[in-house]
Symmetry: C2
Subunit: 237 residues, 2 copies
DNA sequence: AAAATAGTGTCTGTAAGACACTATCAA
DNA sequence: TTGATAGTGTCTTACAGACACTATTTT
């Protein structure tokens, strides 16, 4: 499919752009939000950090291209990626007009383990939301990683999107294993919202709730043993 | 086909696409949702109906192109258009790969008057949501208008988007004049949601509410006189 | 026993929801 | 007066939110 689409619109001079996708893969560990980023190896923005993503090479619905990128980056993933915004500013990429549709997903820390293990590939970086500016910042070990393009704004928009939907959808469970403790679930919510929640209230609400797919939280019978009283494991059933 | 995302422009053949925008301009009159559509005058889909929109001719952020289309279609408009989805299926336009970012706005019936008056231009059509299928249908005077491209799906997605945000944002007021009655406000909500609401409850909620910009509903002192008891006019202040 | 984490009970305020009612206009 | 539309009062139930409390484990 290399035919130039310009020829198909004889009566107009429509602009052409490079379609692209960027993925904001977020996870919650150590009580904070983390995002997958990798270092750019060529100009522009050589040495700065970017989200996984790329220009589209074959005409295909973005939802398909998105799964390709996922497979290459992480190896496998069936988490629900949702599109949340399309970034279209002609100045966002100095090489040309790149229109990027951004997707966001919460993923389980275990699924990202292979990313970190690889060593030279993408890394997990802590996300800091700057509530005043419209850009998130990322850092590892307290060292800020400079971001390429408008990727700070993309991460910011992704987290704000999640904040709006985390309480009405089942997205939070994408960040958790099959079985999880109530505290783990609460930490996912708190990390996304960027603020603490009341423990008794959160518990009550979650246990009373029937989720959109009809399931609700059930104890598995197993327990998580830590340094204090064991915590019950819950799952969706 | 190599798929190393680090080799972008120089060594790969990224696809090109035509960026486009489509506008879903909705209004509420006669107690129902209406949308601006116009008849296509050439293939493909000649004679079928489309949303206002077009291919982008100059690289520019979509938000700018959107205002251009608005100015040409309606003459003037400052309503808040919000992007809600980007449609990217390569098969959605038989001429080539057209990636369309769709925007939705509620607008005042008076602003659309000139559209209808023009006669030969766009028309206002009644919107029927087909809750089962993911496509809305439109009709005028009980006669269904066949839609071009995936515009039925775009309208469906637009209304679903509105349903999710109408109660938490101030969008509903975009469909109303400076002063409006409580019933007019309620009708806007009901038309978007596609279901009736309790009158006393709606009234209580709206009068008790402080909206995101800090304003709340205040009576203007004027009255709307109809066939029954006059209704108080309200406004945001 | 002390520390740590898990989990519960109770009270108060507020909002949802249902329903019946009153108010004010035109004809 | 009747019909029509506008607007209110009241009662019940549910949930948010705050806070103090109890429970079960490890060290």
């Amino acid at each position: 499919m290399t035919s130039n689409p310009r020829l198909l619109f004889p009566r107009e001079q429509p602009a052409l752009a490079h379609p692209a996708i960027d993925l904001v893969l977020l996870t919650v560990s150590d009580g904070g939000l983390q995002v997958v980023v990798r270092e750019r190896e060529r100009p522009p923005f050589e040495g700065r950090w970017t989200l996984p993503g790329r220009l589209i090479e074959e005409p295909a619905a973005f939802e398909l291209a998105m799964h390709e990128v996922l497979y290459e980056e992480i190896g496998d993933l069936d988490a629900a990626l949702r599109p949340f915004f399309t970034f279209s500013d002609p100045a966002r990429d100095p090489r040309g007009w790149v229109i990027s549709t951004a997707f966001v997903a919460l993923v389980r820390p275990a699924w990202l383990a292979r990313v970190t293990e690889a060593g030279l590939g993408p890394v997990l970086a802590d996300v800091t939301m700057d509530e005043a500016r419209k850009e998130a910042r990322v850092m590892t070990g307290g060292v800020a990683l400079p971001l390429a393009f408008d990727h700070g704004a993309i991460i910011d928009a992704a987290v704000r999107h999640l904040r709006g939907v985390i309480d009405g959808t089942m997205i939070a469970f994408d960040a958790l294993d099959y079985a999880f403790t109530m505290l783990e679930l609460q930490t996912v919510h708190e990390s996304v919202l960027g603020k603490p929640l009341s423990k008794p209230l959160f518990r009550k609400r979650m246990l009373a709730r029937t989720f959109p797919d009809g399931r609700s939280l059930q104890t598995t019978g197993d327990e998580h043993r830590g340094s204090g009283r064991p915590a019950a494991f819950y799952t969706l059933a």
